[in-house]
């Protein structure tokens, strides 16, 4: 009991010291708390601005009361500024080619009649997916407007009317990994905080010579490493919570799936990034090297190859293969699955298993490397 108590006391003292380091350094404070907020705001507002001023064209084949009402609803929202009425399908290509119109809505013939008689009617939404992000957002907005309208008309009717939107992404049919900023930003931030900050904080001790002192002390090497890593696990989790809260409350991003699963997967990814951070610290002698290795070796691939900005499916084969060995790729897929699609482990078990495997691999490797360095 005494031994355990002693160990615990030492450990708490160590963690306390670590927090002094973090809170007394303005740079790390900025990276820890300024960056996530700044990034989310930047990405968030850049995207919402784009959607505010979009032109759409409408092909209304039935021109009845219901279609008019829907068109009014759509026009009265802030997302679309100009609307252009077109008369037939042949004009669609032309309006798109002009470039201003980003989406075309097509109401089928006898819309009201079908809705009343057959209880369902169809609207086709065609978006210009050369800008996949805008295209996806437009279709989401339109869908949500339609869904709301449907709920209104169904309020006092027994058999539900169904308006079925058919979405078609023109010009970029392979719209598998649409750039959705929250999962990407979250991945980057967690990578930055967990891997870069830990590797820097460990190499800092090496540079100052305090690591030597710690290793000569009765603390065991793994206690030193765990002591260095635990504060960053804690801060990374806070960051993840802040990012999710900001996206939910400021940008109204729906988290469809289980928050618990989201949290568990994030902890897994954080541990993965921390192992990478320890690995980097074993090969770097100075803080600067650690920072460069983290930026070039981790951050760049995460930005470019993980599907955060560029869709993996449109990369050359070699880059696609490389992307599969980046842990962030799998974490982004998991995040998108949970946040945007609302799927659970039943679907994401494969990605989770891969991420788990990678985590174990990097952890074992970093512990081995660390031991070799001690020799």
């Amino acid at each position: 009991m005494g031994r355990v108590g002693d160990g615990m006391k030492r450990f708490i003292g160590f963690i306390k010291k670590e927090f002094y380091h973090i809170f007394r350094d303005r740079r790390s404070l900025f990276i820890l708390f300024g960056m996530p907020i700044a990034q989310i705001m930047l990405f968030g507002f850049a995207i919402t601005n784009e959607i505010n001023n979009v032109d759409i064209a409408i092909l209304d084949k039935s021109k009845d009361a219901t279609t008019k009402e829907i068109i009014n609803k759509i026009s009265s929202s802030n997302y679309f500024s100009n609307r252009e009425a077109i008369e037939n399908e042949a004009e669609i290509e032309a309006v798109f080619k002009k470039g201003k119109v980003k989406a075309v809505l097509i109401f089928e013939n006898d819309f009201s009649k079908k809705l009343i008689k057959e209880n369902k009617a169809t609207i086709q939404i065609i978006t210009d997916a050369t800008d996949p992000n805008t295209a996806n957002t437009i279709s989401n907005f339109t869908n949500s407007i339609l869904r709301k309208y449907q709920q209104e008309i169904n309020k006092d009717i027994k058999i539900a009317y169904q308006i079925i939107p058919q979405t078609k992404m023109a010009y970029n049919a392979e719209l598998k990994s649409v750039f959705m900023f929250v999962p990407g930003v979250m991945t980057i931030i967690l990578m930055l905080v967990s891997a870069m900050m830990t590797s820097i904080s460990i190499t800092k001790e090496k540079e100052l010579g305090t690591m030597e002192i710690l290793l000569v002390s009765p603390l065991k090497p793994f206690q030193v490493i765990i002591g260095k890593v635990v504060p960053y696990i804690f801060l990374s989790i806070i960051n993840a919570v802040v990012i999710i809260a900001l996206s939910i409350f400021i940008f109204k991003m729906p988290v469809q799936g289980s928050l618990f699963l989201l949290g568990a997967e994030s902890v897994l990814f954080i541990i993965n990034a921390l192992s990478l951070g320890i690995l980097i610290s074993t090969i770097s002698e100075t803080q600067q090297t650690a920072m460069m290795v983290s930026l070039m070796g981790l951050l760049l691939p995460v930005m470019l190859l993980s599907g955060f900005i560029f869709p993996i499916s449109s990369m050359p084969n070699i880059l696609q293969i490389i992307s599969t060995i980046i842990p962030a790729t799998w974490y982004i897929i998991i995040l998108k699955g949970i946040m945007l699609k609302g799927v659970g482990l039943a679907i994401l078990w494969k990605e989770t298993l891969i991420l788990l495997g990678m985590t174990v691999f990097f952890m074992v490797l970093s512990i081995k490397k660390y031991k070799i360095r001690l020799e």
């Binding site: 006391k9 030492r10 160590f14 380091h21 350094d25 100052l208 002192i213 000569v216 009765p218 001690l374």
Partner: protein
Amino acid sequence: MKKTNVIKAENLTKMFGDFTAVNAITFEVKKGEIFGFLGANGAGKTTAMKMLIGISTPTSGNSEVAGFDVYKNTEDIKKNIGYMSQKFALYDDLTVKENITFFGGIYGLSRTQIKEKRTALINELGLQKVTNELVSSLPLGWKQKLAFSVALLHEPKIIFLDEPTGGVDPITRRQFWEMIYKTAYNGTTVFVTTHYMDEAEYCDRVSIMVDGKIEALDTPKELKKQYKVASMNDVFLKLARG
């Protein structure tokens, strides 16, 4: 009055691949002795010291430090030794008080012990006014003394000093050696590496390493007599030039 040996090394060897960094060194250090461990850069001083302080496993040979085996009982060795490097490694962004508390804590001292020792140490070094200042604001000489005292906080049997006076002025060096004398007088063995030859004269006994081997080991007086020179500096030059 027979003094016990607190460090024993017998054919202690460390190899990195084909390169022999430390080549079968044999020596003993007595309790309360100030033992100078000299050698040019790359002679193997640091490697030898790392084996003695339990952070590097020897390739072959035997050694006991503070009565514990360097292969099996590194944990016990670590509890019984103190260590200070040439970087006077303290945490710059922690205050004097926080540094003392932290290092006391990792050596497992209780809160009351830490408090008592901290007060005593601060009074002894005359640091009362800067207790709550960050260590980064202290002059180098003060940092050095603080680092030394912190390394002695857990009352180790042996203190290892790795070039402890690098980069400080002669007066501070002088004061620092007074601290070393006091420590040795109180029964703590001092194992010190240095490349200031005038400092070698202050040691009770001196060993000089050349290319991984101990080429000379005796009191400064005997060494000077043996090599028929006037100073330790000349002894060193004679040895290093072969």
